[in-house]
Symmetry: C2
Subunit: 385 residues, 2 copies
């Protein structure tokens, strides 16, 4: 397999934006190409991730993006993998580059959601669950994650305050991220008093729906680049789980996350202790706690305690979601997985605000979940000179 | 690059079916796995193509398919590339296998459309054009292809009878395909008297919207298979064109089809004369004529004459759409590109009705177009012993 490098990233502000999906996608793509320093004509394919194009009545955005970039002749496609679409698109580009099919590719994820009310978006995205068994019976994602939170609390004694510590940390990190959707710190009192969304999950357990886009330019070792520092993709792995919660043996973790992590560690030749910081999929606070346990950073049932003890703060033992995570940075569905990689990249190059810069951004991992784990992506990156 | 083989195919009947999208997808997938003879547990990833999941309120079908097959732990994703989604998914699987990232993969394309009326489907699929410039102003795909047909007729003198000859041929072939949506032969008089859909295109110029699914199992040379005949993928190439017709220099052909063909021929080391039969994207009759000229089988402006002269019949010089094509076999959008490959496979193994069996099914090519050419896929296959 050829080595693959992230050489340029772009990300719009996340939030309720006065721009269209195509404007957002092209803005991020242009920024990534500009930062990469390569000639746009060297890009051989565009991997676009989007889930809710129908909201703007525009599917098949790839040719529009490519046309706008002046490279209409290259191929594109749209990839959806629920909330992990961005990572799935990244993975496809990685596969093509590591195998030598292409030498340079552009990955773009975008979502435009703010023209809808939250209930509409919630219903739409529930279609990424096993809708006939879950969403159609009234269990949308807040409810599904609430079931997992209840199970985790019952089995391991995970507390509201532990969930709250995740939210408070991510809001703090987000307050120092100028591109975050929610740039405000919150305290435990605010968290505990926030309205219940789906018991035991409250408003401050849940990420917002955001507009936004993120993009990455990737090249392989055959593409001649000369720069002092390189962000190498050590592994890009994906796995799945039974689509419905009712078909799982366990609700306190996501099987696919464990499987994808094992694959990624094997390919990279690393052990977990080598990872110095991570971006995980905190669509709800419980998801961050499960992620830390699924990946294996903390034993089962101890993720909440680790968070409450501050181990996952940007200056803690294992910085988690220094970007603010989905919770505060925001969650423009198909942009999220790519935005996680943008954070890894920016941390590695010391380009983020000092109030959230991790001290050793040497080896980073991203964890991106589609639905309740039907799809999971794990990527590992290394900064090398 | 490792060699890649098609070792199993499955295809449901196409048409207005009393089955759900998930039933169709799983039926085709099971048939492909059964035919391949491999253990389902050897499949490492599932590539799903679907565009209109929202019609059944079910996106993110991959984990549901994998769960039904008993392999929930493997990754899946959904790929949309307008009407070429099936080929785009196939291409991603090919890239992964030829590069050695996976050794065995399942590709599934499906669509469930018959719960909607044709105007609703037409509007929905227009969202795969540059909707804000085309569909929103009333130009859906029949109109866009009508513009191309008008240009072709004006420049090259292509006639209604030439378009009609495409329709008649494909209906004849479809009448011998037990899985075709429209299994009836038509004559020129019926064609000429059919109602106008978008002048100059008539009802019998247009493919139907169909329900249906198709699936393929692919392996690479590292996967140990032992069988007398192999269907090898000699090339899988994709390219694009400007999304909107208004941005093109020419309306009489599709630039991306030429580019993808050049790529595929280069990789395969073949010349066009080596190709013995083809399945092309005849969403409208004019599209088949343009395809033959874009690929280069006939000089510009001579595709219509070639068709009228019978050169493209199943027993002609270059058999085109022996399956019945989109016109008669039907067009379940994201299944179409995969169904084309199923036909190549079945022809190569002499599994089709003798009334449409081509005489030398040695090297086959598929041509699959997304929208008006924003995405185009060309694949080349060879039967080898």
């Amino acid at each position: 397999m050829k080595k693959v490098y992230v050489i340029g990233t772009g990300m719009t502000k996340f939030g309720k934006l006065e721009k269209t999906g195509r404007e957002l996608a092209i803005e991020a793509a242009n920024d990534a190409i500009l930062e990469s320093g390569i000639n746009v004509r060297d890009i051989e394919a565009t991997y676009v991730s989007n889930a809710f194009g129908i909201g703007e009545e525009q599917l098949h955005m790839g040719p529009i993006i490519n046309g706008s970039l002046g490279i209409p002749e290259i191929p594109s496609l749209s990839i959806e993998s629920a909330c992990s679409g961005g990572s799935a698109a990244f993975n496809q580009a990685y596969i093509a580059l590591s195998g030598g099919y292409y030498d340079a590719a552009l990955v773009v994820g975008y979502e435009k959601l703010s023209m809808n009310r939250t209930p509409e978006n919630t219903k739409y995205f529930a279609m990424a669950s096993d809708y006939w068994y879950e969403g159609m019976n009234g269990v949308t994602f807040p409810g599904l994650y609430a079931l997992m939170a209840s199970a985790h609390m019952n089995r391991y004694g995970t507390t509201e305050e532990m969930l709250g510590s995740v939210s408070i940390k991510n809001h703090m990190n987000g307050s120092y991220n100028s591109k975050a959707h929610l740039q405000k710190a919150i305290d435990m009192d605010t968290y505990l008093k926030s309205p219940v969304v789906a018991s035991p999950l409250k408003l401050y357990d849940a990420c917002p729906f955001s507009d936004g886009a993120a993009a990455i330019v990737l090249v392989n070792e055959d593409f001649n680049i000369d720069r002092p520092e390189k962000i190498e993709v050590l592994a890009s792995a994906r796995a799945g789980s039974m689509a419905t919660l009712q078909d799982r043996e366990e609700l306190t973790g996501i099987p696919g996350a464990r499987i994808a992590t094992e694959k990624a560690l094997k390919v990279s030749g690393l052990e977990l202790k080598d990872i110095t910081f991570v971006e995980v999929h905190d669509c709800f606070t419980i998801a961050e706690i499960m992620a830390l346990e699924d990946i294996g950073f903390f034993p089962r049932g101890e993720g909440g305690r680790a968070s409450l003890d501050g181990l996952t703060q940007f200056d803690g033992k294992l910085p988690v979601n220094s970007s603010g995570g989905l919770k505060a940075k925001g969650h423009p569905i198909s942009a999220t997985g790519i935005a996680q990689i943008v954070e890894i990249h920016d941390q590695m190059l010391y380009k983020v605000d000092s109030h959230r810069q991790v001290s050793d951004p040497h080896i980073g991992l991203t964890h991106n979940v589609g639905a309740t784990g039907g799809s999971v992506s794990i990527n590992i990156f290394k900064r090398s000179r």
